[in-house]
Symmetry: C2
């Protein structure tokens, strides 16, 4: 498919003029959906809607998007034709205060795009209003995956690179996207395989695997691999962490379904505890490398070939010191793909490609 | 809850007179739902329905249930008031040939109980027929789990024992049930925590975790633990295998959600490949013990304390030889809980209980 869609709704990229709802959460972590869409699809974004930050720009608050304004109400962005919900809260529920804004958008004839676990289309009030106005409610996480993995017909020559993490929200999606884009810039056929709602919104296809019924999780990602393995390299977006108290099932099903020959270990500098569970300390990168390799090798020979650090909270000097420390500790290339560029990770990946592709 | 139920239907144990549909699959592996219900709830079972085996008994074909007959049609079991679907095929779909039998049962005024992923209540033909006749369609796997795990308020003194496996369908449910029953016989407060459709049908409560949306899997089993942790010991039914190409997500989410201090490693003597995937060799028990312990210890100190062998396909002599081999190889107690009784596994579990409970 060329644009993400559900329920038969199709909204082509060129037609979409988004206002992204981030009320009270216009910052990069809780507002990661908004931040990533602004970063990778700025041409689609008319404004962000956050009455607590009206008058500022996305560049000021999210470090991306230039002059894209933050506005206080739908009235302030008359050119927008679709409302996107721009946060991804734990559990994926619709904040109660947002209901009125969503209904107003529907009643203005705007499509509404959501990546939450609470489906808009299952909400009678939203569904009735949308039917009356003839607008689409697009639930990016909605799926009906019902196939188990087969492990058959996997193309060995396709290099599958998987971003795995120390925690949620450390940059696994962004790293996979940046590496894929940089590989394309080297004239190598590459594809970013989106596995979460934000990645799907950016890429226009993928599978929302954290919303798949557990028995079919590995089967769902296997289908993505089979669909895209004509490329030379796939960069498969990771989810959660193998040591996450809530989401390790998603992480392992994805790992065992996408069969990576190479993994990139992603973390955020300075984070000590599980995001949203500050009473749960994070496991060390050394321990996690071992666990990821053990688990991946149950299916296919696989190793962690580099570390992607997210250093947005520290200075350039601190980032460089940390980078060197982790290089020494793990004996692997380390970089922040935004701050340093992705070249240090790209080179070892390119070296794994068959000679016919890499030369 | 005291009896399994969905969609508001409640069928109390004492009222239920089952005919179990196993057409063409009256054997212990594909027909494991039937086999386990006959083993643990024989008083509820009027007959099995399998036209290819009519005239025989469950004892002959499943080694349980005594004289419970296999019949050729619903006409041959007029006392039955409910039809149970007795197989658990990979993927959980309703075999097309069964539709007519299900409709006939509904039209006779019988409730229909299913553990498949394809929900009866979502099938318009079944749903309309059931509404007309006023009967209940009970989909044991249907759930709306939407809570993430918190890891809070876990009672440390409650001993959580988890059966983990080399593969699917090796006896994890049966071992947990037998151990729980034997522990009760020692006057220790124990509970079998069912996590699959068959276990739920036998126990009358539990959570069908392989049908929970992935993000909420660990949260769903955590709720079971919190509900039942007033017991001294919980025996939590395992699912799949940590090395299963299809279902490892379910296995890990369950392991990380139920936080076992002790694990029992279950396997079937003679099985060499993944059930239903004969091109995928099984991992060794030694390797699996290490992987299960590594993964469990990410959350809580935990170890494999014994091995449950399923020796139904081999002679007593072969079973004894294998038992001794595995004892030596792993340095752990080993038994077939049916053939040898569960005592060898029960003793080390009882030794882990607080003094006040165990004495």
């Amino acid at each position: 498919m060329t644009s993400f869609s559900n329920n038969g709704a199709r909204t082509s990229d060129s037609d979409r003029r988004l206002i992204i709802l981030t009320e009270g959460h216009t910052e990069p972590v809780t507002g990661k959906t908004a931040t990533c869409v602004v970063r990778y699809r700025p041409e689609q974004v008319v404004a962000l809607l956050d009455s607590t930050q009206a008058g500022r720009t996305t560049q000021e608050l999210l470090s991306v998007g230039g002059d894209i304004p933050i506005v206080a109400s739908l009235d302030d962005a008359p050119l927008a034709n679709a409302l996107m919900l721009g946060i991804a809260p734990s559990g994926g529920r619709i904040p109660p205060a947002w209901r009125k804004i969503i209904l107003t958008a529907i009643n203005r004839g705007m499509d509404v795009i959501s990546g939450l676990h609470d489906f808009l289309c299952n909400d009678p009030e939203f569904a009735n209003a949308a039917a009356l106005k003839g607008v689409h409610l697009i639930d990016v996480r909605k799926n009906n995956e019902r196939d188990v993995a087969s492990r058959l017909n996997i193309r060995e020559e396709c290099l599958r690179v998987h971003t795995v993490g120390q925690d949620c929200s450390v940059g696994k999606m962004l790293v996979a996207l940046e590496l894929s884009n940089a590989m394309k810039a080297r004239d190598i056929s590459s594809k970013f395989v989106a596995t979460g709602q934000t990645g799907i919104m950016v890429e226009g296809d993928g599978c929302p695997i954290d919303c798949v019924v557990s028995d079919f999780l590995s089967g769902a990602i296997e289908k993505q691999i089979l669909e895209h393995q004509h490329h030379d390299v796939l960069f498969i977006e990771g989810q959660g962490s193998i040591s996450h108290p809530r989401y390790s099932a998603v992480t392992l099903g994805l790992l065992h379904g996408c069969l990576p020959q190479a993994m990139i270990l992603c973390y955020e500098v300075g984070r000590k505890a599980v995001y949203g569970m500050d009473y749960m300390p994070l496991k060390s990168l050394v321990e996690l490398r071992e666990v990821y390799e053990t688990m991946a090798n149950l299916m296919v020979p696989s190793r962690v070939i580099g570390v992607a650090m997210n250093s947005r909270k520290v200075s350039a000097e601190e980032a460089e010191k940390e980078r060197e420390r982790v290089r020494q500790e793990l004996g692997l290339p380390v970089c922040d793909v935004i701050r340093h560029g992705p070249e240090d990770l790209l080179d070892p990946i390119q070296a794994m490609l068959p000679q016919t592709v890499a030369s």
